[in-house]
Structures are given as structure tokens and as C-alpha cells.
């Protein structure tokens, strides 16, 4: 069995699989690892709970995309519902629906990990050749400023007017038509997601990618994973068919992503009192402004993110921020814009004239920050509890004020905050009114599209789930975790390239170690 296989097609006598390497999850971490290990001659099986959907399925409709390509149909939130979490699901994971923004891991973040978490094997010089290899494979390149859409250009112009740093981003696209629908799956395969790059590379070297196969539990015996117990998922992509699958591999790589990876380990009996498993989950908590401009913005068309500002990344002892943009198609606009009834409708009718700019808090760097905690709900599903500390709320308030000033400097007539009821800001002097607004769950809309941590790497088993270097579990010897869950903090940049780079580095090391 090789290639892309739907688990529903497995015959009953083919539901016990014995690959050398089982990789659980097919996103940024799993796909890169699969490709490199398969290329090194290892027998690789990638199992993926979600569906295998391709460009022919990507019809640029939000309802279809959320139903099939997002965790929990796009309804994932923190337990208090204070933070909406957009996270991908399906073959290729979040790389299929992200907005293609690529940054290498900032060197100061790597230094922080080294100094505070004992991560000594991912120095900039260690990662550089791996980042370079990934960037070449994924056609990562800077988007020229003149190719930015109006929404991004307004962020740039506003920053320029205020003397704030802002610059074009790099994107993993090839022959991009800038339609603006990255978040719904690229309909022309311009986005160089795992779906069309590293996963086909792995398959070309003999790997199998088994979709609709949800791993529910790892059976751990004597410090080793003996097998993975999975279920076949049915036509709706979520309901088990009853067909159980057992995978008895020599080695296991867990790449289910932050939230799902710690969730699987918790369901498998790991963790417990005082364990770091599930802890230190970070989200880049995000707030935004919608600003109304006299001219047409059409923030739903064009490359979704092509400008970023890191002018506020270093705020001294306070939590840092970075600023980007968001595409607003009708459903995403409807949930992001404040209010209900006639008031909401009045803003929706201005959709073509609205820009959408966001401020992302760089969480995880405060001395007393603990981040979110993943736990298992009675249903067996993973959930995340993340009460934001005052440090993060302060940053979001500062970010909101800065965004409002940027929007006004870019020519906005009205800037609306994500509060409900909203505050309408029409001149710079109004920005001070943000100081009087409440910042608390349910008072202002908070989102996240960057989920990190929960299986953190580090040298101290009391504080970390996996060891640095090869990301092997501290106590389970044939289990490695290779995805965004290993990050000890957030990043201050979009996370996809960090995960690619870590996976490329670790897979190279594993292939060498296993060969020897």
C-alpha cells in the first residue's frame, strides 16, 4: 500500500498495519518529516484524521471550507469561548488554509529558548541550511510592495505615515493569482502547502498517507509505544464508521499540531499531576480593527497577508506585539464585526470599504506567564483553557490603540474596535477613549490562528515533554513529537516556517541516527 489512501477503502484484513515509522498528522511537521524519512529509505505511514481534499474541492466558499478544512468545523474556541481558534484539519493540515506568510524563527526567540528552556540544539546556524532547503522547496519569496492589495497597502501606508517599521512579507506561493482565497484552500495549487509539496514527495518515495484515520490512543508499554489505536471516519469526516485500525510501528512521530498532539498523549495516559504535558500553550491572542475608507478596499481580494509590522515587537518588560492584516470574506466579516441587528447590518453594507488590521500579542515571554492548558473533556476531545493574564490584555489594548492610529493615518473615516458595543474612532484624539474600554472575555473579540506549545521541548523533564535535538519524548523512547506543540513560547511571527524548519532539522538528524 502506497500513495494517498482513504481509510474507508481498507479491507478488514488490512486494518492492522506494521510500518517502520508511523507519523500521526500530515501538516507542517508531519509532512516534512515524512518526506525526509521516506527519502532516506524508511518505510513511512502518515495517518491523518481529516479528509484528503484537493484543488478541485476548493470552491472559494466559506461554508464548504469551514466544514471540511477546519478543526471542529471552524467552531474551536477556548473553554470560556473567549478566544476563537482557527486551526486546519485534513491532509496537509493548517498549511492548506493558512495565509501563506513565512518568517524564519527570530534569533532572539531561539536565544530565549536556549537561555530559559535549555534548548541548545536549534541555534540559528543549525537551522539556517534547513530553512534554506524548505524555502527553496516551497518557493518562499518576498511579495513586491506593489503587489499588495489595498488592505495591506493601507497598513503599510499608515505605518509609514507614523514612522513605524513595516515591510512586505514572504509567501510560499508559485504563480499566485492573488485571488484572496488562501483560507479556503488554494483552487489553483499556487499555494505551496504540504498537500502539493512534501506529502507528494513522501509518496513518491514510497510513503502512504492514510486519511480519515483518527488515532484515539497510543498503547504504551515499558516506555515504548507498542501500537496506535485508530478509527476510520465516515462520509462526514467526523463520525467513526466502527472500523478500527491498529498500527504497530517501530517508531512513532506525533505531528497532530498543538492542542491535538498533547490531547492524544493525555488520552494515552501520559501526563498527570505536575506534568508539563498540555501546559504552556500559546496562541498569539489577536484583536483587530475594521476601518471604513472612502474608497473601495475589497479586503477579500488579493494576497491576504503581504505586509507586517514588527515595530512593537519589543516593548521592554511589556508583552510585545506584531501587526498584520486579515482578509474579510462575508462570513468571517460577519463574526468579526461588532453588534447585531440593524447596527451590524449597517457595517456589513460597507464591506467593500472596510480594511481589517490585526494586532497579535507575543505571549509566553513573561516571567510568570503560564499560557493555556490542554485537557481532555469527558467526550474525549481535547480542549484548551486559557485565561489571558493582565499582561496580555494590556498588550491588546496597546495594539488596538496603535492600529486605530495607523488606520486613521491611512485615511480611514471611521475605525471600529472589536468591542460590543463598538467604539467608533474618527480622529486621533478619540484613541484615548480606548483606555476606558473593558478588555475581558466577551467584551472584545479575540481570535487566534497560531497555536503553539503543549508538548514543549526543553532539557528539564520536569518542565518539558520532549528533549531538544531530536524532539524525542523524555520518557517514551520510540516517540518523537514534531509539530508546533513543541514550541516553548510563541514566536512573534507566523509559525509555519518555524515548524517546517524544525521538522527538516529533526528529520535529517533522525535519518542519520537511525541509519547509524
Amino acid at each position: 500500500m502506497t500513495g494517498f489512501v482513504d481509510a474507508r477503502t481498507l479491507a478488514p484484513d488490512a486494518r492492522r498495519l506494521t510500518p517502520e515509522v508511523c507519523i500521526i498528522g500530515s501538516g507542517a511537521g508531519g509532512a516534512v518529516t515524512a518526506a525526509l524519512l521516506a527519502a532516506a529509505g524508511h518505510e513511512v505511514l502518515v495517518v491523518e484524521a481529516g479528509e484528503h481534499r484537493t484543488k478541485k474541492d476548493f470552491n472559494m466558499r466559506e461554508d464548504v471550507a469551514f466544514a471540511h478544512l477546519y478543526q471542529e468545523g471552524g467552531t474551536r474556541t477556548t473553554t470560556d469561548r473567549g478566544i476563537a481558534i482557527l486551526q486546519g484539519r485534513g491532509v496537509g493540515g493548517t498549511t492548506v488554509i493558512n495565509w501563506t506568510t513565512c518568517f524564519r524563527t527570530p534569533e532572539k526567540v531561539l536565544a530565549h529558548w536556549r537561555d530559559h528552556f535549555g534548548v541548545r540544539d536549534f541555534e540559528p546556524q543549525d537551522l539556517a541550511p534547513h530553512f534554506a532547503a524548505v524555502e527553496e522547496r516551497l518557493s518562499v519569496a518576498e511579495i513586491p510592495l506593489e503587489n499588495s492589495n489595498r488592505n495591506n497597502r493601507l497598513l503599510y501606508d499608515g505605518c509609514q505615515a507614523l514612522g513605524l517599521q513595516a515591510a512586505p512579507t514572504r509567501r510560499n506561493v508559485k504563480q499566485c493569482m492573488k485571488s484572496g482565497y488562501c483560507g479556503m484552500g488554494c483552487p489553483i495549487d499556487a499555494k505551496q502547502s504540504m498537500l502539493i509539496t512534501y506529502l507528494p514527495d513522501a509518496v513518491a518515495k514510497g510513503a502512504t498517507v492514510l486519511s480519515r484515520c483518527r488515532v484515539d490512543r497510543l498503547e504504551i508499554q515499558a516506555g515504548r509505544v507498542a501500537s496506535a489505536h485508530a478509527m476510520t471516519l465516515g462520509d462526514d469526516g467526523r463520525t467513526p464508521t466502527g472500523a478500527a485500525i491498529e498500527i504497530a510501528a517501530k517508531r512513532f512521530i506525533l505531528s497532530g499540531g498543538a492542542i491535538n498532539s498533547p490531547g492524544l498523549l493525555l488520552r494515552s495516559g501520559l501526563g498527570g499531576a505536575g506534568s508539563p504535558l498540555g501546559r504552556r500553550t500559546f496562541l498569539h491572542p489577536t484583536i483587530g480593527t475594521s476601518a471604513q475608507h472612502p474608497d473601495v478596499v475589497e479586503a477579500y481580494y488579493g494576497a491576504p497577508q503581504s505586509i507586517a509590522s514588527h515595530a512593537l515587537s519589543d516593548r521592554g518588560a511589556d508583552c510585545g506585539l506584531f501587526l498584520e492584516t486579515a482578509p474579510i470574506h462575508p462570513a468571517l466579516a460577519a463574526i468579526s464585526l461588532p453588534g447585531m441587528g440593524e447596527a451590524h447590518r449597517a457595517i456589513m453594507e460597507q464591506l467593500p470599504h472596510l480594511s481589517a488590521h490585526i494586532a497579535l500579542a507575543i505571549d509566553g515571554f513573561g516571567a510568570d506567564e503560564v499560557g493555556g492548558t490542554v485537557f481532555i473533556a469527558p467526550s474525549g476531545e481535547p480542549r484548551i483553557d486559557y485565561p489571558l493574564p493582565p499582561r496580555i490584555w494590556e498588550a491588546l489594548r496597546a495594539g488596538l490603540k496603535q492600529l486605530a492610529l495607523i488606520d486613521l493615518a491611512a485615511g480611514a473615516q471611521v475605525v471600529r474596535t472589536g468591542h460590543d458595543p463598538t467604539l467608533e474612532i474618527r480622529k486621533p484624539a478619540d484613541v484615548a477613549r480606548i483606555d476606558a474600554l473593558p478588555f475581558a472575555p466577551g467584551r472584545i473579540a479575540v481570535f487566534s490562528a497560531h497555536v503553539m506549545g503543549g508538548c514543549t521541548m526543553g532539557g528539564d523533564p520536569a518542565r518539558a515533554v520532549v528533549r531538544p535535538g531530536d524532539l524525542r519524548h523524555h520518557t517514551v523512547e520510540n516517540l518523537h513529537v514534531v509539530d508546533g506543540s513543541v514550541l516553548p513560547t510563541s514566536l512573534g511571527v507566523n509559525p509555519q516556517e518555524t515548524i517546517y524548519g524544525l521538522a527538516h532539522t529533526v528529520a535529517t538528524r533522525l535519518a542519520a541516527a537511525w541509519h547509524s
Partner: protein, 149 residues
Amino acid sequence: VGLGLWPSRVRYTPRRALLVLDAANFNVLATAALRAVRAPGVDPIEIAHAVDTVLARGIPEAQDDFRRLLQLLENGLAGLLLDGRPRPFTWLGPEGQDAALYKFRDSAIAARRAGYHSLRRLCLSAYYVGDSTWQGIGYPGPPQISVPT
């Protein structure tokens, strides 16, 4: 206690089988949808069905939370104790329903605020995801594209 047993005013019944909600929840949801979404051609029954479909993709705990939210919104005793309004949500006039929803929005209890936003977001996204709504907000829809050769 009797206020908690005050029966709903049934205005909306499902057109097809429900996935997560029951008929009572559905009626409350459709009633609320008509207040959350004020736009041309709103069909609260279809919005409620769409929300039911979205909820089915979520986890059981989130489904339970949403059912409890609708029960709390409708319950007269809870309305009296928390907001000073003894009548079930479905018996209120439009202004009373808006006021009841805003009481949730402005509540000191975070769970009630979160409930308001869940209700609001699910109804609004269910409506605006439909292509028949796009012209009214000036959204031209996805572009016609062809694959580069």
C-alpha cells in the same frame, strides 16, 4: 418556580431532521436569529438549520453549552432572577427580545457574554455565508479564475 415552566411560544418548527438541537431549542434559536440578523430575505428557520449543521461539527461539550444557552435565554425564572424579566424569550416583543440579548451581552457573568457572542456569530455567519446575501453587502463573490499553464 412556575416561571421556569412557562411554555414557549412556538413560532418556528424545523423543516427537516435536526442534528444537535431539539424542536424547543430550535424555536428559541430561530426567534433569536431574527433579531440578530436584520437583513433582506432573512429566513430564521433556515438560519437555525444552518446553525444546527455547524454545531454538529463541533465537540459534544460545545453542543451542550449551546443547548444550555438557549434554555437559559428562554427560561422565565432565570430571566427574572438575572435580568428582571419573567417572560420567556419567545413571548417577548422584538424590543424585549433585543433587550434580553443585550442583557446577556452586558452581563457581569463571562459565560453569559460568551453565550451572546456564540449566538450572534453563529446566526450571522449562517446568513452571510449564503450567496444570495452577497449583493446586498456589495460582495461580488469569488472571481472567475483559470489555472495558469
